[in-house]
Symmetry: C2
Subunit: 345 residues, 2 copies
């Protein structure tokens, strides 16, 4: 049984510190309209889609920082609501990333899955693997990465979920005998992660243990940062090539090792003419091949017609977890955070 859907990543180019949200939303709606033209059913927007990538700046006041955050229900925010209205009108599900400030005052790097057919948010994800540092670099010329200062680690785990309305003629749970599974036969099972999570195989595995057929993530990845951090001398151009290489490598390999599709969507370009973010938005299949890839460093829609049934080969053969995984040997993975030398174990 084919499980075909048309999906897209909506890559978003430079956004400056003083770019207004209305202007950004207009660009996102343009991309959504282009998606509708291609009969796309699901569009993934980037991490922190709505503003410049502010964790590269140190802010002196809470007020300066908070203008980059969303407060309350984002679908009801006057600035952002038109995007969700357009999604409903076009009948396109969307994933949108944003900085979330909770009622308790906690900051999270968040994304949501909004279903056009259900007309509501089906799932929220909060970024688990925050990169960077709490304290800014001493060098005033260095480009900071202050996610650990501005956000708490996500507290929702890796919540897989079903997305109804995308694939016709799914097998319903009620039609099955007790114990029979609708994984790969019912409504598709999706998972979201954000940026740096993609480098952590644990995140992918938590999802694939829940039958996920498609992982979606946005990213903001510095193109002119690695040469400052690295122990090897590199030009900014070399550092950018390396960052793109790593981004693609982990998406391809983790899609393969978890027998799932993946969609990545970049916030990219040169924010404020200075802060360079890599592009390279991509859609990968469960065999690890890139099936669509951005060609620019600006606003760009990439589209693929995918068949989720292609996950079956991996999930039923090489990566049939029930036959091949050996959990009795994996004990340290959720018990030991850091490295311990073998003699001390």
């Amino acid at each position: 049984m084919a499980r075909k859907i048309i999906v897209a990543a909506a890559q978003v180019g430079a956004i400056n510190q003083d770019t207004g949200k209305a202007e950004v939303i207009a660009r996102l709606i343009n991309l959504l309209n282009e998606a509708a033209h291609h009969k796309v059913q699901l569009v993934v927007f980037p991490e922190c889609t709505l503003t410049t990538f502010f964790p590269c700046h140190l802010f002196q006041t809470q007020e300066e920082l908070d203008r980059y955050f969303e407060h309350g229900d984002i679908t009801q925010s006057p600035d952002v609501a038109p995007l969700f209205e357009q999604a409903k009108t076009s009948g396109i599900d969307i994933v949108v990333g944003y900085a979330e400030r909770t009622l308790e005052g906690n900051g999270y790097n968040t994304c949501i899955y909004f279903s056009a057919s259900e007309r509501k948010v089906l799932q929220k994800y909060r970024k688990v693997h925050l990169p960077g540092t709490v304290e800014p670099f001493e060098d005033p010329e260095a480009i900071n990465q202050l996610e650990k200062r501005y956000f708490k680690p996500g507290d929702l785990g890796f919540p897989a979920f079903r997305a109804p309305g995308l694939v016709p003629d799914v097998v319903k749970q009620s039609t099955l005998k007790a114990g029979q599974s609708t994984v790969g036969r019912g409504d598709p099972i999706f998972g979201m992660m954000i940026c740096n999570d993609r480098r952590w195989p644990e995140a992918w595995r938590m999802y694939s243990l829940k039958g996920v057929e498609l992982v979606m993530f946005g990213f903001n990845t510095g193109g002119n940062m690695a040469h400052l951090w690295g122990s090897k001398p590199m030009t900014p151009e070399q550092a950018k090539t390396e960052a793109l290489f790593h981004s693609k490598l982990v998406q391809q390999a983790n899609s393969y090792m978890n027998a799932c599709f993946s969609i990545s969507s970049a916030r990219c370009g040169l924010d404020d003419g200075k802060y360079d973010l890599i592009a390279g938005s991509a859609i990968c299949d469960p065999e690890g091949h890139v099936v669509a890839e951005a060609q620019t460093e600006g606003d760009e829609l990439i589209v693929a017609n995918i068949d989720l049934a292609d996950c079956r080969q991996g999930k039923e053969k090489t990566f049939d977890f029930s036959r091949h995984r050996r959990v009795e040997t994996y004990g340290l993975i959720d018990k030991q955070t850091g490295v311990v030398e073998p003699e001390l174990l």
Copy 2:
């Protein structure tokens, strides 16, 4: 402090069912002599180095099967001992894979690390992730993969170990204060896996949680099997290209995500003129780049001069586990073997 060593993979081409072990050992010693010429300090030989890849055959008697197995201490086996003698003479550490029959009669797909300076086996590893099936295919023309029939899953876990004598001027534990670690400063920390293990991120992570700087594995990977298993029609040539792509992809990505070097060594070529195994032996650096790669499908030594200190950038920054891992979100990984649909969790 540089931690340079010269390492090699010794790829081994076709071995037929009736090829004698003495003939194989002579070929391995040739490769070892070539390694000595290049001042190599460590050579990795393939999985089941000493015989044809017998799990593609169904044997009718235990006697037929057992001629492919080693019984007792392999370093004392009259057939194989000359290899270890040569390793000692050349001052080269070696990793050798073989089928092991224990005193209790259990079969394991095993490899050992033999230290030339210590003149003994430092560590044994038994393959954890056995691919294939217990029962042969019904189609008599299909090429079997009967590892689950002939071997038990490894019972030694993922045992990281120190290899002395390779890197000069290491920091000794006794010179450090309590709590200070010699990871990355003492004798290098190594880990072994075998073939299919390389596709399982859990195996790599168990090692990197123990500070491993170099993962070594041999493989026997079918080049004319995937087109028989796959759900998509493929020619044998396409299946072989795909198998090579996957092999390289997982080695590169897992080396990067675990900030370690890796050496893979293929048993390859056309056994008995019929059973095709991919080549593609490779040495990867901790940034995921291939630094040396086999060019043939036969006996071939590939050499790289590596600096284990290059692991530091990954281990101290992007993949600084103690700062970035979130074990509270990884709970299913060692508790749930197979896939469970999200609603049932």
